[in-house]
């Protein structure tokens, strides 16, 4: 009798503990009470976000979501939660790119130069950036291969990489530029037409190389000898690697489109200062556009007609577009401000959210993993003190893969949000300032 009773109690407690132990094992966390902005079109004013093992388990209105008993519940009433910001054009991490010995460097990888411990990465976290396309610098027709990284604490760059295609080792795109940016003294091109001819020549070589690969049909003897430049460009021609093309003036935007159409590669237009002049042409081309917001026009010839209204005009034209920081040209801590400046000139709030998150994930072929709060996607999100587009709102916490990686309440983290004495220890080389001294 007594024995039976003990067994009953044992079973009872086991049953009682079961959900808790599962919840604890799977590291389930429940964020409850915030306004949740999913970037898929749904907003939940009294929302619940459940994450486990680094992935989003469920998201929705509190009345519709079952909270697993025993899970850790974090009360975020009065706050806002949105996807971690995705910055499709950044120079954080102090990396470099191709040098001045040539102007075409598809073989150069920024991977080989980034400092994963750079303070600039921590600072971007304080602005809510969770994933960034870190690009080699400007001033070259092709400055090298970019990397898509998550800004999680890491000792090696490898730990930060986000793979688009593991099998083919694709974790980035190829940075290109046109307009006045790559123009200079030889070996740089001296004119726009020369720039385009140089790029076309190289892609024609790459097409030939690609044909040799196809003709070899798997026979190692018949394969062309390895050529790092050609291998990268073949990835571009095969559509595995995206081109990220710096371009400002309206005619340069159209030139970039003409080149991509000719060789059939996939491309994102970057900066697009005068996109408002050719919005319909961009929309028809189908290439997405990534806008930089600067407080004033000017500073170089290409930026004379840079206006806050570009977002609104591209939205009206139906272009798939987003914003980027080009950090350190604009500050990652103020990335939300770029979207707010679009709203200021009439862009929709819904688009403003997308333009900092899911639209940018699409520009990195990562929309299945990041950029929105959806079941099964990576648990990358930020907790905000209020409206994402108010100057008074603070990023309170940044989470990547289900781990809190930045917390404003922690003074060691907070200093990155404000700046101060010796916060940024390593003042990284800024390629843009270097270019400015060269008169570009």
């Amino acid at each position: 009798m007594m024995m039976k009773r003990y067994i009953f109690l044992l079973v009872f407690f086991c049953v009682l503990w079961l959900p808790y132990s599962i919840a604890a094992q799977e590291n389930i966390k429940v964020f409850s009470g915030a306004k949740i902005i999913t970037a898929t079109g749904d907003n939940f004013n009294d929302g619940v976000l459940i994450i486990s093992n680094g992935v989003i388990e469920s998201v929705g209105d509190r009345s519709q979501i079952n909270i697993p008993s025993g899970a850790e519940v974090i009360d975020v009433t009065g706050k806002a939660i949105m996807p971690g910001l995705v910055d499709p054009h950044s120079h954080i991490g102090g990396g470099d790119g191709g040098d001045r010995s040539a102007t075409l460097h598809p073989d150069v990888r920024i991977l080989d130069s980034i400092d994963p411990r750079s303070d600039t990465i921590r600072r971007a976290l304080s602005g809510g950036v969770t994933t960034a396309n870190v690009m080699p610098g400007s001033g070259l027709l092709m400055s090298g291969q970019t990397v898509y990284i998550k800004l999680r604490p890491a000792n090696t760059i490898e730990e930060m990489l986000v793979y688009v295609d593991e099998e083919n080792e694709i974790y980035g795109g190829l940075k290109m530029a046109n307009g006045t940016n790559p123009i200079g003294q030889s070996p740089a091109p001296g004119t726009r037409a020369r720039s385009t001819a140089m790029v076309r020549n190289l892609f024609i070589r790459a097409q030939e190389y690609q044909q040799q690969m196809i003709d070899a049909d798997g026979d190692a003897e018949q394969m062309p000898s390895r050529n790092l430049q050609m291998e990268t460009l073949v990835e571009v021609l095969e559509g595995k690697r995206l081109v990220h093309n710096h371009t400002h003036r309206h005619d340069d935007i159209l030139t970039a489109i003409r080149l991509a159409d000719e060789f059939g590669y996939r491309m994102v237009l970057h900066h697009v200062t005068e996109a408002w002049k050719v919005a319909d042409e961009i929309a028809r081309s189908g290439y997405p556009a990534s806008i930089i917001v600067l407080d004033s026009p000017g500073g170089k010839l290409e930026a004379e007609f840079l206006y806050y209204k570009t977002g609104r005009v591209l939205e009206e034209a139906g272009v798939d577009f987003g914003y980027h920081t080009d950090d350190s040209v604009t500050d990652s801590r103020l990335f939300l401000r770029s979207g707010a400046f679009g709203i200021r000139e009439g862009m929709s709030r819904e688009k403003a959210i997308e333009s900092l998150t899911i639209a940018n994930a699409r520009m990195m072929d990562l929309e299945d993993r990041i950029g929105s709060l959806k079941n099964g996607k990576d648990a990358d999100f930020i907790i905000l003190s209020g409206d994402p587009f108010s100057v008074y709102t603070k990023v309170l916490q940044t989470w990547i893969d289900g781990s809190k990686v930045w917390d404003r309440d922690n003074p060691e983290d907070r200093k990155y949000a404000t700046g101060g004495y010796n916060v940024i220890q390593r003042t990284s080389f800024s390629i843009h300032d270097y270019l400015n001294r060269r008169g570009n």
């Binding site: 004033s296 026009p297 010839l301 500050d331 707010a340 101060g420 940024i424």
Partner: protein
């Protein structure tokens, strides 16, 4: 003779037309920040002949017939950008439109801002549309003494129409902010030695020019003598704490009027700045944090204010993009980082006017002052807010498209 009469008649009727253009205006604001007392809810400002004629609550003010009416959620005095180079620096950033820094010599206090100001420059009109009606602009940082600064309204089409004060300060840079292109100075200590010698020579010149046998005119020494005689200010661009202390040391030695500019590390030496009684034109809040401004903080303006140090805002100097900043936007980020909104608004208006000695004309909405007003769609510091109209000297110089 007859021709002259006709000409005079035409001139008179034209100038009457111009006066008519300075129409009588009534501005209603749901909140009117006069910066002279508490904000007025449901306030009205009457503008006549370029000046503020009347101000008060809508209940107490009768709008005379013929006054053109404007309405806005928020109205403030025209904003003052306390340090810029717009008008000398142009939008294109090409050699032909960059007159803010002469590279032939690192010490040229005789260079006048009035001789290089392009009143129609796009950057000047750009900041006007953001609500900046008065700007302290001129030669930029980058030389030991790069030249003079001045104060202008942003609305004029010529220097003469725009000018408030022709010689406000000489622009001094200490520390590593001096450009590398000069043969000398090449170090911090050398720049101070050079400046001290010029000040000592200037003091002799100042004394001699008061004597019965004044020396022959020397444009350089005249300016330094004016500085030492208290007629103009030294605008000293420094970022590092040790350079701030150097500036204070120089000021103690020579006793000139001084304004600190930049001051990225001011939070390290606040007691010293306060004791010296020196106002700070704080670096743009969003300044890039590398080199001299590596240790800049979003919170410096709030910290200085808290410490009782006068702090006002600047758009500063930019060598690349964006070619100018907007003092209002820089203040907004300071507000988001602890500065009280009313303190920020004061810094952008009456406090700046007071520091430059132009508070008899601008900086607040009071009867008899210049009719410089900004009408906003909402909270001036909020990202989504736009200036919907800007009035300078009683003229509506900017109106937002109605779309």
């Amino acid at each position: 003779m007859r021709l002259i009469k006709i000409f005079l008649m035409i001139y008179c009727s034209l100038s009457m037309l111009y006066d008519d253009a300075k129409a009588q205006i009534a501005v209603y604001g749901e909140t009117v920040y006069t910066m002279a007392g508490d904000p007025i809810e449901n306030g009205v400002v009457l503008v006549n002949d370029g000046l503020i004629e009347q101000i008060g609550t809508a209940d107490n003010i009768r709008i005379p017939d013929g006054y053109q009416e404007y309405r806005a959620p928020v109205v403030t005095p025209g904003l003052i950008d306390s340090r810029s180079v717009v008008g000398l620096a142009g939008i294109l950033n090409q050699e032909h439109d960059q007159d803010q820094l002469e590279m032939s010599d690192a010490f040229q206090p005789e260079l006048r801002a009035i001789d290089a100001f392009n009143a129609r420059e796009d950057l000047v009109k750009f900041i006007l549309r953001k609500g900046i009606t008065t700007v302290h602009t001129g030669h930029g940082p980058g030389a030991l003494v790069s030249g003079q600064t001045m104060i202008v309204k942003t609305a004029g089409n010529t220097l003469e129409e725009s000018l408030i004060d022709s010689t406000t300060a000489i622009s001094v840079t200490l520390g590593a902010g001096i450009q590398g292109g000069y043969s000398t100075p090449g170090t911090r200590a050398k720049s101070v030695a050079m400046f001290r010698q010029h000040l000592i020579d200037g003091r002799v010149y100042a004394e001699n020019r008061r004597s019965e046998d004044p020396p022959s005119r020397n444009l350089q020494k005249e300016v330094i003598a004016d500085l030492l005689d208290g007629k103009i200010n030294a605008l000293i661009h420094v970022q590092r704490a040790q350079d701030i202390m150097t500036a204070i040391r120089l000021q103690r030695e020579f006793g000139f009027h001084m304004i600190l500019e930049g001051a990225a590390e001011a939070y390290l030496v606040m007691d010293e700045i306060k004791e010296a009684g020196i106002p700070v034109i704080i670096h743009p809040t969003m300044v890039r944090t590398w080199g001299e401004t590596q240790n800049a903080s979003f919170e410096t303006a709030a910290m200085l204010k808290e410490a009782g140090i006068p702090v006002i805002f600047q758009s500063g100097y930019e060598g690349y993009v964006p070619k100018t900043r907007v003092a209002l936007f820089e203040a907004a980020i300071a507000v988001a980082n602890g500065l009280e909104p009313m303190d920020a608004l004061r810094s952008l208006t009456i406090d700046a006017a007071y520091q430059f000695g132009i508070d008899d004309r601008v900086g607040s909405l009071e009867i008899g002052k210049d009719a410089d007003l900004v009408l906003y769609t909402g909270d001036p510091f909020e990202y989504s807010t736009r200036a919907q109209a800007v009035i300078v000297d009683g003229n509506v110089v900017f109106e937002l498209d109605s779309n």
